[in-house]
């Protein structure tokens, strides 16, 4: 078996796997919650890497899956087949068994070091235009999104203009949480006294699922939010709408958010009517708010925090 990999079989395999996966999951719409239906460049790349990894792995996996039951059947006791009870080694086979997996791991390592590192959460994305900054504070069981350049904040919903690199700076004021919008890209942990970064880009308009994947208590299943990707014009309109909210983010309203509660419960406590849109909008944010949250736990991290 040649160690040189041709392009054609790999593409065929990838394509076949892609079709199988799509067919298998096509019955169910993902409802904006999966990178199998990607809406951002990072998620698209991740879907491609998944299919390509599956494609490469099938080179070793399919022979194993076929040969194991086949040999068990062909060489079963009582069937007249060749019997070599003392055969236990073959150099050519050893080369193949060790060599082919080595080669595949070599190829996959290239993936790991090159394209995957390019889309590392901390790296800026290859998108034109200014970066939109959003500061995120993870709370039990809700996410607070602060738009420092717009001077607004929201809970339970984050609006993103399509086609722009959105850079999140994340911290937590409670437990460790993991921020994920599967349709757009990677997840990253949010931890108290520390700031992590995540770069995402939305390519198409839509309402996507955002969630926490790190268990943090009895309201974990409700620790979710809407990621609203919208056109730049719609985004400007959304910012204006938030600016017109009667609520301001101050110590009183933050104390409500800080309690262990879901976004909907906090909204109710803050006097908002429970509707389909349980998001909470704040028309103003105190200067240096994000830094002060980080500084509650670690002054050195606060000094390095962006805002």
């Amino acid at each position: 078996m040649s160690l040189r990999l041709h392009v054609a079989p790999r593409t065929i395999l990838t394509g076949a796997l892609g079709i199988c996966l799509t067919l298998a999951l096509a019955g169910c719409s993902t409802h904006g919650s999966s990178f199998l239906a990607p809406h951002g460049m990072v998620a698209s790349a991740q879907r491609r890497w998944l299919l390509e990894t599956l494609g490469f792995m099938s080179i070793v996996v399919l022979p194993a899956l076929v040969l194991a039951p086949y040999f068990a059947w062909r060489y079963r006791y009582g069937r007249k087949a060749a019997y070599s009870p003392n055969w236990g080694f073959s150099w050519p086979l050893e080369f193949v068994i060790w060599g082919v997996p080595f080669a595949i791991v070599g190829i996959l390592s290239w993936y790991v070091f090159t394209p995957e590192v390019k889309f590392d959460p901390y790296h800026r994305l290859p998108v034109e235009g200014p970066v939109l900054h959003i500061d995120v504070v993870a709370l039990n069981w809700k996410w607070l999104f602060i738009y420092p350049e717009q001077g607004i904040a929201s809970v339970g919903a984050v609006a993103l203009p399509v086609g722009r690199d959105v850079e999140f700076d994340l911290t937590s004021d409670r437990t460790m949480q993991s921020f994920l919008i599967p349709a757009l890209g990677s997840q990253i942990y949010a931890m108290a006294g520390m700031v992590t970064k995540l770069n995402l880009e939305a390519s198409t308009v839509g309402d996507f699922v955002g969630e926490n994947t790190q268990f943090n208590g009895m309201g974990f299943q409700s620790d979710r939010f809407s990621a609203l990707a919208m056109t730049p014009a719609e985004f400007a309109g959304w910012v204006a709408k938030v600016r017109s909210s009667s609520l301001k983010l101050d110590q009183t309203s933050y104390d409500v958010l800080y309690q262990d509660s879901t976004a909907a419960e906090a909204a109710e406590t803050l006097g908002l009517k429970r509707g389909l849109d349980s998001a909470i909008y704040f028309s103003s944010v105190p200067q240096g708010f994000f830094r002060s949250v980080v500084g509650k736990y670690r002054q050195s991290a606060a000094r390095e925090a962006p805002r």
């Binding site: 040969l67 009870p85 003392n86 236990g88 009895m218």
Partner: protein
């Protein structure tokens, strides 16, 4: 300081489950009833003295191994029930609270993981290695038999603590990995995380001692002629597992102690405030955690090596490759721990390095898979229960390994970390890998332990139920993870998920049927033990030394320590026509006497742990004094050996060899027939 607190610590009426949950009360009721039934049955049958002298104080590796496996099977039953409860909840809870409140559900996933890793997987494999390894290397026992008993006692103590947590108080809700700050006193001030910490501590210390015991045994107690490269593969994997145990358990002990210091003494190793850093917990835990999962899988790999060679009627393909691959896996397992937290914010280059090292482990693992497949090539494959487990393993584990390679890519892991894709991956490697391996080992070595074979029909049914049930229960989880469902969710709001959770629930029921088959199998087998007896001791036409002694194995293992000159020493001896010979001379055999140190430290450890959980400080002090006192007292024991006189050994051996001579040998197509008395018809070389 109230008198109540001085005597009972934090125990109060509210600790009883009937004050807050019907389901929890039912669970506690089962534990209490089970305890009363067991104690009652033993009392009514008058077996306390027998159990104390023949089992609890025994330092015989075979009996200790059997007791470990019994613990594992009881805890397996509990943890599978917990899994079924969770699957049922998730099949119901699309936009609905289901029947389990979040508090209970989160305790269930925590105890399920904790039990399956520490009180099912570890005891099962330690029990199997305990039973088989000394026999395989031609030894009479492990190097430290009393310490072996102490290890068993402490594991039993940890398991007892887990069962006590069903009856008093609530367990941690922080998952089996227990990440702070969620497990710190700020977020879980109750006893839950303390139960978790001390159960792990008991298990961890027990395993560290076991690792030392096994490694020294393999280094020092191999019979003459058995060089390292003439050891059976199972013994090689036992050796690598032991090395992993010695190096991997200490980080766990350290990290749980640090968390305990945070919780009990207000320190700040991992808290949010005052300089604590939860990332240190994550690093230390997984420095333990990754080698731990290789501890769980390597013995199973060893079992499969034995089973595939034996039931293919062939030499194992690639012995040296398999040894090299096992060693590579053991060494590499210490270089990959970061892949458990790619998403914690370290640089892409760091992630990439660990991603590559993780994929490197896939290479020796893949080599092993192909070596087992090639062992079947041009063999004569007999599809008995252990072999069926092995074939199911080869097919299913390959899929699990593939999902592992997918997860090893940081770029992809950023999507599926902490999702059900991850849950599907590790169950895909643990169930077909570890569990099937242990069930195969159970079926394979049962005749050697008890003198009769297990029922084959119920065994095959069990394989079928476990294989089908596993696929139905876990393959949907791959889909759910890719569709964006996180793990540990008591309720979900995406309608796309429910069809998959329903299939998974049906799979869980099929797995439960598999457990039922195993239970029926042991009952039927005991009933039919006379028909299925194999007194000669070689029911499977084995290749390694353990099959050269009678069944049940004599307490001294070998009347005369064998000398070997090749791999598969028993097979070689049979081929040369030198099997079942009366030795020219038998000698007195020295065996260690029984010791109460194991049970005393087991009970003492459990009591100390219980006292620590509930802040009953007098109990902790008394228990620690008892433990320390027992260890000191043991130091004064000078008369610790007993003699089995040469005449007695000769008498037993001659009687057995007489049985051998009267027994007709059976060809392999009569392997599962009643006529198989344990003597194999050997083809001339």
């Amino acid at each position: 300081m109230s008198w109540w607190f001085l005597i009972f610590g934090k125990l109060s009426y509210g600790a009883f489950p009937f004050t807050y949950s019907i389901i929890a009360t039912m669970a506690a009721g089962m534990v209490v009833l089970g305890f009363i039934a067991t104690v009652g049955l033993i009392t009514v049958m008058g077996k306390w003295t027998y159990l104390w002298t023949e089992w609890f104080t025994s330092v015989d590796h075979k009996k200790i191994g059997i007791m470990y496996v019994i613990i594992a099977m009881v805890m397996l039953l509990r943890a599978v029930i917990e899994a079924n409860m969770m699957r049922l909840q998730q099949s119901m809870s699309y936009d609905s609270p289901g029947y389990l409140p979040p508090d209970h559900f989160s305790q269930l996933f925590t105890t399920h993981g904790t039990i399956m890793v520490f009180f099912m997987g570890m005891p099962f494999l330690i029990g199997i290695i305990n039973f088989a390894m000394p026999l395989q290397i031609g030894a009479r026992d492990v190097s430290f038999p009393v310490m072996n008993s102490v290890s068993l006692g402490m594991t039993f103590g940890g398991a007892a603590l887990m069962m006590a947590s069903l009856c008093l108080g609530k367990f941690s809700t922080g998952g089996w990995s227990g990440y702070p700050p969620y497990t710190e006193a700020t977020f879980q001030p109750g006893v839950g995380p303390d139960y978790w910490i001390w159960a792990l501590t008991l298990s961890g210390i027990s395993t560290t001692m076991t690792g030392i015991n096994f490694a020294v045994t393999i280094y020092k107690k191999r019979c003459p002629g058995m060089t390292l490269f003439r050891m059976p593969l199972f013994t090689w994997t036992a050796l690598c597992t032991s090395i992993l145990m010695i190096f991997a358990m200490p980080p766990l002990t350290v990290v749980t102690t640090m968390l305990a210091l945070d919780r009990y003494l207000g320190m700040h190793f991992f808290t949010n405030a005052a300089g604590g850093d939860m990332m240190n917990f994550v690093n230390l835990f997984w420095l333990f955690g990754h080698p731990e999962v290789y501890i769980l899988i390597l013995p199973a790999f060893g079992v499969y090596s034995e089973v595939v060679a034996n039931f293919s009627g062939k030499k194992l393909y690639g012995y040296k490759s398999l040894v090299l691959a096992t060693m590579c896996i053991a060494v590499l397992s210490f270089t990959v721990w970061l892949h458990h937290f790619f998403t914690m914010g370290q640089s892409g280059m760091v992630n990439a390095f660990y991603g590559v090292s993780t994929m490197l482990i896939g290479i020796p693992t893949g080599v092993k898979i192909f070596d087992w497949i090639l062992t079947m090539f041009q063999g004569r494959v007999r599809l008995q229960t252990p072999m069926l487990y092995a074939i199911a393993f080869i097919v299913l584990f390959t899929i699990g390994g593939t999902s592992g390679i997918i997860l090893a890519n940081p770029g992809i892991d950023y999507q599926v970390h902490n999702s059900l894709f991850l849950v599907a991956h590790f169950h895909n490697v643990l169930i077909p890998g570890t569990l099937f391996g242990m069930l195969a080992a159970y079926h394979y070595w049962f005749p050697k332990a008890f003198g009769f074979r297990l029922d084959e029909r119920w065994g095959r049914l069990a394989v079928a139920c476990w294989t089908v049930g596993f696929m139905m229960a876990f393959f949907p989880l791959y889909a759910l993870g890719l569709l964006g469902m996180p793990r540990r969710e008591v309720e979900y709001f995406n309608p796309a998920y429910q069809p998959w959770t329903i299939i998974a629930e049906l799979g869980a029921l099929v797995i439960m049927a598999g457990i039922g088959c195993l239970f029926i199998q042991i009952v039927v087998s005991i009933r039919r033990r006379a028909q299925n007896s194999v007194p000669v001791g070689d029911p499977w036409n084995g290749r390694t030394l353990e099959w050269s002694v009678r069944a049940p194995a004599p307490e001294y293992n070998f009347a005369v320590i064998p000398t070997v000159d090749s791999v598969d020493a028993w097979h070689a001896r049979k081929e040369r026509g030198e099997a079942y010979r009366v030795e020219p001379q038998y000698f007195d055999i020295l065996l260690p006497k029984n010791s109460a140190l194991g049970p005393v430290i087991g009970v003492g450890g459990a009591a100390a742990a219980f006292g620590l959980v509930w802040h009953i400080w007098w109990l902790v002090i008394v228990a620690m004094l008892v433990i320390i006192g027992a260890v000191i007292a043991r130091g004064f024991v000078t008369d610790s050996e007993r003699v089995i006189p040469a005449e007695e050994v000769r008498r037993q051996e001659v009687a057995w060899l007489g049985t051998v001579r009267r027994t007709p040998p059976v060809p392999r197509d009569k392997e599962t027939a009643e006529s198989n008395e344990g003597l194999a018809e050997v083809q001339a070389a």
